[in-house]
Structures are given as C-alpha cells and as structure tokens.
C-alpha cells in the first residue's frame, strides 16, 4: 500500500503558524505579483472565495469579511516545505518518501501491516503536525491514483476521518470512487471531464468500469490505460526515486508592471540568467543551451469569459562550450533576448531556461574553443559564497542593473521568520 501526505491549505498554514492573531480568522495567499488567490484557509473557503480567483474579483468579499491577505512568501513556504518533507524522511524508512510537490509527498507503506495502517498514519500525521506546525491529510490505497482519491475524501471530511482515509478493500474503494466526481479525479483535466460527463461518466466509479482498450482509445493512450488500471486497483505508477539533479533549470517571472524598455528587459534577463547559473553551480552542472522567452501583454478583451494570453516569442543559443559561469549565461540570454525584443511592444513576463545539462566534472569541451579557465570558476565560487553568506545579491554583474523597477509586486508579504535572523518572530 502507499499513501499521499498533503498539507492542508499549505501557504495559509505557514502564515498562521507565525501569526497567532490569525488562529480563527480567514486567510488567503496571493500568487506572484498579487494576481490570483492561490491558497485559502477553511474559513476563507466557507466564505465562498474561489481558488485561483483573480484578487480584484474577490477584493470586496475579502474586505467585507476581514480576510487576512498575504503576498506569496516563498522563502517561508520553501523552508516549511523542507521541514515537512524532512520530518517524513526521519519518521519513515529510507527511500519511502517521494516528494511530489511543494506540499505533497507519496509515501511507501509496505513495511506496515494492513490492519495497522490507520493507527500508523494517524500517528504520522500527528507527529508531522507537532514537529512542523503544518496540518496534513493522508490518503492510503493500493496505488497512487486511489491514494489521491482517499486523500481528497480525508480533506473533505476532516472531522469524521480525522484527516486519514485508508482504502484497504474493494468495498471501500468502490464507495470512495462513487463519491469522487469525475472532474476531481487526479489526472482528469477540465476538457476530459466535460467529454466524459457527456458520455454519462459522472464519477470515478463509472470510469473504473471501462476496460483498458476503451481507455487507450478515449483517454489519451497509455495514460488512459494507466489511470483505468489504477482505478481497478492495479499499480501502474511506482514510487519514483528522488531526482537530485534537475534536467532543466529555469527562472521565469512576471514583471511587477508591464515594461517596454529594452534596458529594463535586459536587466531582468541578466538577473534571471544569474539566478539560473547559481542553481546550475549548486547542482554541479553546466549547460549547453540557453533559451529565452518574452511574453507580450495581451490586448484588452471586452466582456469575455476566457483569459487571453499575449503572444509569446522565444529563441535559444547553443554555447560553444557547456558553461556554468554567470557571465557566459548572461551574455547568451541577453543576445537571444535582443533578437526577440521589438520596439513599441509591451512585455509582462520573461524567462531564462538552461537545458542540455552536463555534470561539471566531466565537461565535454569543444576542440576549437578554449575552455573556461579556472580563474573565472574561482571567481564564481567567491561570488556564490559571499551572496550566500550575506543573503542576497551583494555582488552582481553590471547588466543586472541596480534599480529593479520590473521586480515582482509583493506588497503584503509577511516576514521570513525561518530564514532571516533579522526577521525572527518576537516573543514577549
């Protein structure tokens, strides 16, 4: 059997942990740039504040009900996420935790007898909550899809289930599937849900009665087969070994405001490129390809329900030698950016992506181009160490600029209670 541990209203729980005055108050957390609502406490859900609702649409409801509103505090959430995952790694056998997202992890429970699963998971849940202050729900089933089904039910009925649902026999699985609307099933997106409902497949149980060849034909081939297999209680998705090295490194951000000036775009690209190069050096890789994209601001659409995205332009450059040095990455990113940039166009987002990564201790060099010499590598090392020690970019490259007018908006961000000495919580 395996389980999924999922943090309840994760970002809101992080905020509440350090703001005791919010114990029973509704809370929402806004996305990058304060655009949309990305996390809601139970109290906020009860007020009818929808997920992913644009902030301006919910503003009236928020102000009327005194909902505490926060900008995303990724330093805090990142650290709290590490704590939750690390607690599980300490409490479970080696290799039994697969981090799935910032607030979810699959856990292997093969070492626990089926009869003890409920007790074991309740104890695990309590320990994670005690240690980290973050409440979690645990769903357990014979495979990942069914553990997700179980977890959804645990979250929906927190009081009755005490946050743990174990689907350990066919009867329980069947009942759980009947209580899972098709659009809430893991892996079924909005478009598939609409299609399935038209065919009379309204819940997960209906889908589990279909055979595999039907899934192959109507649910996107192999993924459809895997989904139906798991609904029938078989296993298609094993536990994944943790990937310590990323295959691709990207830094993409929305600008704080739309910009049309090349110099500002250049500064943004250089900053993102620096961030990417740092991530690259941290995992001891070098990149061969530097890609850049710019997203244009969408023209205003009147009285329209759907979101219109602006046009996206992108390009890439192959480096002569794989590199992990900021100046090389910045130079390439800015070069590509310059070919994409058009005078008079307004941009709202940009990104730098590094791919074709190779380990830096086995740099494949190009015979005709001299490889980066050791001295530049040492310089990068010094810069990284100083920036790490002083928390922030005290040393940076000229192209990155010093003003950062384009920087993300985060007007309501709370303190970084767990990562900065000068932002610790005060106690009387």
């Amino acid at each position: 059997m395996l389980g999924i541990v999922d943090c309840n209203s994760f970002y809101c729980s992080c905020e509440r942990l350090f703001q005791p005055q919010l114990l029973h108050r509704p809370i929402v957390v806004l996305s990058n740039n304060d655009g949309c609502i990305v996390s809601r406490s139970d109290e906020a859900k009860q007020l009818g504040i929808g997920m992913a609702l644009p902030y301006f649409q919910a503003k009236e409801l928020i102000e009327k009900n005194g909902v505490a509103t926060f900008s995303s505090n990724y330093h805090l959430y990142g650290d709290m996420s590490w704590r939750v995952m690390e607690s599980m790694r300490a409490l479970l056998p080696k290799g039994a935790v697969e981090v799935y997202s910032v607030d979810e992890a699959f856990i292997s429970l093969d070492h626990i007898a089926v009869d003890n699963l409920s007790t074991y998971c309740l104890d695990l849940k309590n320990k994670i909550e005690n240690w980290t202050g973050i409440a979690v729900s645990i769903g357990v089933g014979p495979n990942k899809v069914l553990s997700k089904v179980a977890n959804r039910l645990a979250k929906k009925n927190k009081i009755k289930t005490r946050g743990v649902v174990v689907l350990h026999n066919t009867r329980l699985i069947q009942a759980a599937l009947q209580h899972t609307p098709i659009e809430d099933l893991w892996g079924i997106g909005f478009q598939y849900a609409t299609k399935l409902k038209n065919w009379g497949i309204l819940n997960a149980y209906h889908l589990s009665l279909r055979d595999l060849s039907w899934g192959k034909k109507f649910l996107g081939g192999i993924n459809g087969i895997k989904l139906i297999r798991e609904l029938k209680g078989l296993q298609s998705h094993g536990m994944q070994a943790p990937r310590t090295e990323k295959k691709m490194i990207a830094t993409t951000r929305m600008f704080g405001r739309a910009i049309s000036d090349w110099q500002e775009i250049e500064e943004a690209l250089a900053t993102y490129a620096t961030r990417c190069a740092e991530k690259l050096r941290r995992q001891h890789s070098a990149a061969k390809t530097v890609s850049v994209f710019l997203l244009q601001k969408a023209p205003k659409q009147i009285a329209s329900e759907t979101y219109y995205r602006g046009q996206q332009v992108s390009g890439y450059k192959l480096l002569d030698n794989p590199s992990q040095l900021s100046p090389d990455i910045i130079k390439a990113a800015v070069e590509v950016g310059k070919t994409l940039f058009e005078q008079g166009v307004i941009y709202k987002k940009a990104g730098v992506i590094l791919s074709d990564l190779v380990p830096d201790n086995a740099l494949q060099s190009n015979l005709f181009v001299p490889p980066a010499n050791n001295r530049r590598k040492k310089l990068m090392n010094v810069i990284d160490n100083m920036n790490a020690a002083y928390r922030g970019d005290i040393l940076k490259f000229g192209t990155s600029g010093t003003q950062k007018n384009w920087k993300m908006r985060s007007e309501k961000r709370s303190q970084r209670y767990t990562t900065r000495w000068d932002e610790l919580c005060l106690v009387k």
Binding site: P20, Q21, R83, S87, R282, N361, A388, R391, C425, V427
Partner: protein, 147 residues
C-alpha cells in the same frame, strides 16, 4: 542517514566536486614548515547546530522582546531555540500563544487549565482556564545571549 535537500534554497554555498587537481592547487608547506603538518590534522570545525539542534525540521528561532523571564537568564534581544517535537510538560520553559500573542513563560499544567509563570517579580502569573485561545507552541531548549 542520507539527507536529500529538494531545493537547497538561497543560502547554500557552492562546493566544487572536481577531483582532477593540479599540482598548483595543492596547499604545500610554507616557509614556516607549519602548513603541511597542520593540514594532516584538519577536521570539520565545531558546528553549533550539532550541539544546539536535536531535531532540525522541528526547531525554530524566536527573538525575545520582554524581560518577563529574566530570572531564567532570558534577556531582551536574546535568541530562543524552540523545539516543537518535545512534549510540553510542567516546569518547561515554553513559547505559548495566548489571545493572539506569543509569550515565553514557565509552564505549569494543572487539573483545571494551565498556568504561565514569569521569572521576574514585576510580572504576574497567568492562569488560563478557557483553553480555546491558548496553545503551547513549542518547548524552549536553549537561549543564545550576547555578553
């Protein structure tokens, strides 16, 4: 135990793993003859985390903003290390939430509610009977005080 950090965050210094050393990179004895000998006895320096943090994912830092616990050696501006995995029991110094505020006091658990005891005569003991607005947040394990 093998630790895997999903994202080492902003604060991790880069360490190069490159075993293709060149002769010039090897530190050699200098004129004093001291360099090489001491190099052989190099070990990882003392790490305060080993002494002060028993359970890292459950340990948090707080900044003291009151003199209510002066008698316990807790001064304004000190740093508290709080371990949430230690069960709160009578006699322990704790960080607690009361009416929306963080307090540091000595905990006393009674049959009817709990008491939060100061260690400074200018402060009174707080008896909590209605527990709805009370939470023990964590147990204080160390105080870091600058002299």
């Amino acid at each position: 135990m093998h630790f895997i950090d999903p994202d080492p965050g902003e604060g991790i210094a880069t360490q190069q793993i490159n075993r293709n050393y060149q002769a010039s990179q090897v530190t050699q004895a200098n004129a004093t003859g001291f360099g090489a000998a001491s190099d052989d006895f190099m070990e990882r320096g003392i790490d305060l985390n080993e002494q002060l943090i028993q359970n890292k994912p459950a340990s948090f830092f707080f900044r003291v903003n009151s003199d209510a616990m002066l008698g316990a050696g807790i001064h304004i501006g000190d740093t508290l290390i709080v371990d949430r995995s230690i069960p709160p029991s009578s006699g322990k110094v704790v960080v607690a939430i009361l009416n929306g505020e963080f307090l540091v006091r000595r905990l006393q658990i009674q049959t009817h509610g709990v008491s939060l005891l100061p260690e400074n005569k200018r402060y009174g003991a707080i008896h909590v009977e209605h527990l709805e607005d009370y939470r023990t947040w964590g147990v204080v394990t160390y105080v870091i005080h600058a002299l």
